[in-house]
């Protein structure tokens, strides 16, 4: 059974007098445990796809089913619960809360759960160890390097053990070394069974995915399984 099913998802934006089609009756299914890369030129609908999958922007039409749940059939508050329980977000610019240390940033999604204080701390501790930051827990974001911040963001996205991890250009602001470390970490998670959907511009990341979809004008132009050569060269 597919973890994700997008059925004729259409998304328009009104931009001044223009109507911009971000997603054009897009259909996509993603199996559980997939590491899916989403590529495409600017304006192809990559980020909109991630927002729609993440219950952040409702589609103009069509349906989004995640783990059997019709995401946009839920109320706004239930959508928030869905994001907390089913999704982990990794943003391009880390988006850590600057006045909270690494441990507190990782605990952020747990602050509104009923776990005990000890359990919250234990989970955040374990997750920071897993991303290789056991000795940076009490550092504020500005005291961490870009790669370390990204790893804290990954730990935060995973601390609730969500079935689906959504990553928007997580290596976009990193150098080659840090970028490789982050991709290795994501690969490890994938090998442990984590479903990951990652938007990227970087062709070098393609080797990490086991499936890649190429978007153009809000539609899937190509959908390939681990085969770099089959993707359009224009990416």
């Amino acid at each position: 059974m597919s973890l994700i099913t997008l059925d004729k998802v259409h998304k328009n934006y009104i931009n001044g007098a223009d109507c911009v089609i971000a997603l054009n009756k897009l259909c996509l299914t993603v199996e559980e445990g997939t590491f899916l890369g989403v590529m495409g030129p600017s304006g192809s609908g990559k980020s909109t796809l991630l927002s729609v999958l993440g219950a952040l922007a409702s589609p103009s039409s069509g349906s989004v089913i995640v783990d059997g749940i019709d995401v946009y059939g839920l109320s706004a508050e239930k959508q928030a619960d869905f994001r907390r329980e089913y999704l982990g977000f990794i943003f391009q610019s880390h988006n850590l809360i600057p006045y909270l240390n690494a441990l507190e940033n990782v605990m952020l999604p747990l602050a509104v759960t009923r776990f005990s204080a000890d359990e919250k701390r234990r989970r955040a501790n374990d997750m920071l160890k897993r991303v290789g930051l056991p000795d940076r827990m009490l550092h504020l974001p500005q005291q961490l390097s870009g790669g370390e911040q990204e790893r804290v963001a990954i730990a935060r996205a995973l601390v609730n053990s969500p079935p689906l991890l959504l990553a928007d250009e997580p290596t976009g602001s990193l150098d080659t070394t840090n970028s490789h470390q982050v991709m290795s970490l994501l690969k490890e998670l994938h090998e442990d069974g984590q479903t990951i959907i990652m938007v990227t511009h970087n062709r070098e990341n393609l080797e990490w995915f086991d499936r890649t979809v190429y978007l153009r004008d809000g539609k899937v132009e190509k959908d390939v399984q681990s085969c770099l050569d089959q993707l359009p060269q224009a990416i």
């Binding site: 952040l56 994001r83 943003f91």
Partner: protein
């Protein structure tokens, strides 16, 4: 890690804004507390003065006949063989429900006596009670203490050329002048003042009084109720409230109270606007954070809760500090007013109300920004990321 933890961290991080908010609300609360404390202290002082000012209820015999006049009050039948008030009946005043409001009871008997062939009005008094009622009396010499002693009014002293220690014959009896009453400008100037029991004998009114002046404690004083109660226990009398005295003083106090409340309300509105504008600015500044919170699964309620909790913490702090500053300002201001005679009194209602009002104003002013924050669509907020 709970929402409170995030709120406290945020306040600590944005200390400048938090301090600005606390000071803004604190000034408002302190102003209100100062004004209300001053009003309260001046009110109490005015009340004390009012009580010192003299009687505010006068009891006279009921009569339809022509009467003499004393102090602007009609005295039923004092010049005639008419009804007087039985002195023994005055104990009934203790029976009225508002007995605790009665500060002083000043019975007096009045009547004309003859001195050197001329008629003069004699007033018999209870000296202790009368001196409490007539605080403005200034007696050269001393007050009456024993039987055949007199204090004479200024006009009488001049008319008969009396000095202290002079012996005066009244109705053939000798009296010693022990005090000269300084000019009052009232009918007191024309009196011979003797002890009540002596005057009753002299005027042939044993066990009778012509009028009774009552000083009522008038802080929230139900004077009208007391008049009715006295009328009920003393059915043969007319009981009148000297309303103009009470009303004038109370009116002045009410004016001050009204002014104080006006300033208080204005200051509170300014405080509320300050909180509103600052919180609105803070929400705009934190759109990015709110977007992150919403994206990782915080409900609208969680965002609302965080913003209001921040406002509640700031407001409570402002309320407590504002109250303390207000009390301090009152203690500094009071010696400069009313000749330093007004004193501050602990008022638990004002303390609790000040803190509660600060919290309510802070929360109400923060509610629109908090609602705005909670209604931010995650996609809209994330656009700012």
């Amino acid at each position: 890690m709970r929402l409170e933890h995030i709120v406290l961290h945020n306040l600590r991080r944005r200390k400048g804004r938090a301090v600005f908010l606390v000071i803004g609300l604190l000034i408002g609360v302190a102003t209100v507390v100062t004004l209300l404390s001053l009003t309260d202290a001046l009110g109490r002082r005015a009340q004390n003065e009012l009580e010192n000012f003299g009687a505010n209820i006068i009891i006279t015999p009921r009569s339809d006949e022509l009467t003499l006049n004393y102090g602007g009050v009609q005295l039923g039948g004092v010049n005639l063989v008419a009804k007087e008030i039985e002195q023994a009946d005055l104990v009934k005043i203790d029976d009225i429900p508002n007995r605790r409001n009665v500060a002083t009871i000043g019975p007096k008997v009045l009547g004309a006596v003859e001195i050197e062939g001329q008629r003069v009005m004699m007033m018999g008094i209870d000296p202790d009670a009368e001196l409490k009622l007539k605080r403005w009396w200034s007696i050269a010499g001393r007050s009456i203490e024993k039987g055949n002693e007199l204090v004479v009014g200024d006009s009488v002293a001049k008319r008969f050329n009396l000095n202290m220690g002079d012996i005066l014959q009244v109705n053939g009896h000798d009296y010693t002048v022990v005090g000269l009453l300084a000019r009052t400008g009232s009918q007191d100037d024309q009196l011979l003042i003797a002890p009540l029991s002596v005057a009753q004998v002299e005027l042939d009114k044993l066990g009778q009084v012509s009028m009774v002046e009552v000083a009522a404690l008038c802080h929230d004083c139900p004077v009208d109720d007391m008049v009715n109660q006295l009328q009920h226990v003393l059915p043969g009398t007319d009981v009148q409230a000297v309303q103009q005295v009470v009303k004038t003083r109370m009116h002045a106090l009410d004016q001050f109270r009204f002014f104080a409340w006006g300033v208080a309300v204005t200051v509170v509105i300014i405080g509320a606007l300050l909180v509103f504008v600052t919180m609105m600015g803070a929400i705009s500044e934190r759109t990015r954070e709110i977007g992150i919170f919403r994206a990782i699964g915080y409900r609208r309620w969680h965002v609302l809760h965080m913003v209001l909790m921040e406002a509640a913490i700031v407001s409570t702090l402002s309320g407590v500090l504002g109250y303390l500053v207000g009390v301090g300002a009152t203690l500094i201001a009071l010696p400069l007013l009313e000749g330093g005679k007004a004193t501050w009194h602990w008022n638990s209602t004002l303390a609790v109300s000040a803190v509660l009002a600060a919290v309510v104003v802070g929360l109400l002013a923060s509610l629109p920004p908090a609602l705005r924050a909670s209604r931010l669509e995650p996609s809209e907020a994330l656009r700012a990321l």
